[in-house]
């Protein structure tokens, strides 16, 4: 009687053992095939890191993410996160940024705005939370908060740069954070230069790099860079702003007192009115020119 009751369990145990061995053997046999295919498939899809998704567990997001609606879910996460942003709810906003970027890391909207929120918005919230006086907001505690947030933004941008090293825009964002938040013109110049060397670089990256060189008192280097830049800029594209570069070149020649023979003798842009020596207009501030 007892053996009759045990019999189905023995059968199931046998099935389980056979299945275990068969699956293991099959897994080992298909290993060479998986080793060939998986890296190629892996390379074509965004990194989906479970650790970054842990905040979303229990919200049905995992099922959706693995179900394939990644872009849509990332968009909805971002929309929902906007309500938290309006309430300055720091933990929820940071989770939203991490989650949206994990689900759809190729979407520039998420990492660009995420980095800006981390670097520019959240420090303001934290200073408000810390109830610092206006004077304290320039003190060491405030600087620490700004530095911490800037580092978080840079960490986010570094993941984008690692994944897409030929993209100029995350480098531009990183350079702006060094320039505006961390007040570190050396590092800002480094990343603006790197950005300017990328194929999709905005024209202003090179111009800001030159301005930062001037700010760092590397005026000769800035002059040489601007001369080369002026020759390389396309004549037919008005966004290249050759007139601004030309004016800056002339101003530097005056400032550095470059002898006439060594000055730039290329053609000026058609619409530039050549001013008298020393009267060249001041360059735009490095951190306000966001136009291409």
């Amino acid at each position: 009687m007892a053996s009759e009751r045990i019999k189905p369990w023995i059968e199931r145990g046998k099935t389980f053992c056979v299945a275990f061995v068969a699956l293991l053997v099959c897994g080992i046999i298909t290993s060479p095939l998986v080793d060939r295919v998986w890296p190629r498939v892996r390379a074509t899809q965004p990194e989906l890191n479970l650790i970054d998704l842990q905040d979303a567990l229990g919200q049905g997001i995992l099922v959706g993410a693995f179900g394939g609606f990644r872009s849509l879910i990332a968009d909805i996460v971002w929309i929902a996160g906007n309500a938290d942003w309006e309430k300055s709810d720091r933990p929820k906003v940071e989770t939203m940024i991490k989650l949206a970027n994990t689900l759809d890391p190729t979407n520039s909207f998420f990492w660009r705005n995420g980095a800006r929120i981390l670097a520019y918005d959240i420090p303001v919230w934290r200073l408000r939370e810390a109830k610092l006086d206006t004077d304290d907001r320039k003190g060491e505690a405030a600087l620490t908060i700004r530095r911490e947030q800037a580092e978080r933004a840079i960490a986010l941008l570094d993941t984008v740069i690692a994944r897409d090293p030929n993209n100029a825009w995350p480098l531009v964002e990183k350079a702006q954070i060094y320039n505006l938040v961390l007040k570190n013109p050396e590092m800002a110049a480094k990343y603006f230069k790197e950005a300017a060397e990328r194929p999709n670089a905005p024209y202003f990256a090179a111009r800001i790099y030159a301005e930062l060189l001037i700010k760092l008192d590397h005026k000769r280097e800035a002059y040489a860079y601007l001369r080369k830049l002026y020759d390389d800029l396309p004549k037919e594209d008005k966004f290249a702003a050759r007139d601004i570069v030309y004016e800056r070149l002339r101003a530097l020649e005056e400032e550095l007192k470059i002898p006439e023979a060594e000055r730039y003798h290329g053609a000026p842009p058609p619409d530039v009115v050549i001013e008298k020596p020393g009267a060249a207009s001041a360059p735009p501030p490095a951190d306000t020119d966001h136009s291409k």
Partner: protein, 275 residues
């Protein structure tokens, strides 16, 4: 009557029974409605390429509803025969147990084939219409021709169908020893999730310092098939170096191995089952 004919008859019956199920109609209608309404969901798009967003949404609907359909239909159609005692009638005739399982599996595979074809045609149509509109609005963006590879879309649908076949064979194996439909469905969904995250074990076992944990994770990576291998939408629909036929061929081979394995296990488990 040969084994082939017997399997064909059972499969045809299973297919007809499945098509008549309200659940199938309901899921197909929801999936089709979602794919057709993708232009509305474009409002939620924050900068992805529009055609890629439509594709992501459409393939999402295919993967999500296809997974539900293949698990539920396989379990339901198998247990219908057991619970209604029709399996006894079938197996009393000169039909082998493996033929019964093969017939059930083939019938549901046909059903999933029809589902996939329908979804691929509708998604292809939505993409084609939108691409035409974009070509008229932004001709400079299409100087090199169409962006969407429509033959690649059907290839993608085929690879998804293969994934469903593996999933159905897993469900069949679980159903072969379980007592209830619900248990089979729940266990199959758990297996689906394990197979979807199997890649974590595959990618990480080498990096684990503890030899014991590393061995355990390695074991997990070998025990379950990797369903992330079927994420070929970008490689097939938006290929940068031509449609990845070779890659799909290798994925097909991988699928065949696992379908045969789980089917073999189902036959082994079902051979002495009391019905």
């Amino acid at each position: 009557m040969s084994a082939f004919h017997r399997i064909y008859r059972i499969a045809a019956n299973t297919f007809l029974e499945a098509v008549r199920q309200r659940f199938f109609t309901f899921i197909v209608l929801i999936a089709l409605a979602l794919v057709c309404s993708v232009t509305y969901f474009r409002r939620f798009d924050f900068g992805s390429s529009e055609l890629k967003f439509i594709t992501d949404f459409g393939t999402g609907a295919i993967v999500f509803f296809g997974s539900i359909l293949s698990i539920v239909m396989m379990a339901q159609l198998f247990f219908n025969e057991i619970e209604n005692r029709t399996a006894l009638t079938i197996l009393a005739k000169p039909v082998h147990r493996w033929e019964f399982l093969a017939g059930k599996f083939t019938g549901v595979a046909w059903l999933m084939g029809v589902f996939m074809l329908l979804m691929a045609v509708v998604l292809g149509g939505v993409l084609y219409l939108r691409e035409n509109e974009l070509m008229q609005k932004l001709p400079q963006a299409f100087e090199a021709g169409r962006i969407v590879q429509y033959d690649g879309l059907f290839l993608y649908a085929f690879t998804q169908w293969l994934k469903y076949c593996v999933l159905m064979s897993i469900t069949l194996f679980i159903s072969s020893f379980s007592n209830t439909n619900l248990f089979s469905v729940v266990m199959s969904f758990m297996m689906l999730i394990i197979c979807q995250v199997q890649y974590v074990a595959l990618d990480s076992w080498r990096a684990i310092e503890s030899p014991f944990v590393s061995a355990l994770v390695w074991l997990l990576s070998k025990l379950f098939p990797n369903f992330q291998m079927y994420n070929l939408a970008m490689e097939t629909i938006f290929p940068t170096k031509g449609v990845a036929w070779g890659l799909c061929g290798e994925v097909t081979l991988y699928s065949i191995v696992y379908v045969l394995l789980f089917f073999g296990l189902a036959v082994f488990s079902f051979r002495r089952r009391e019905i």
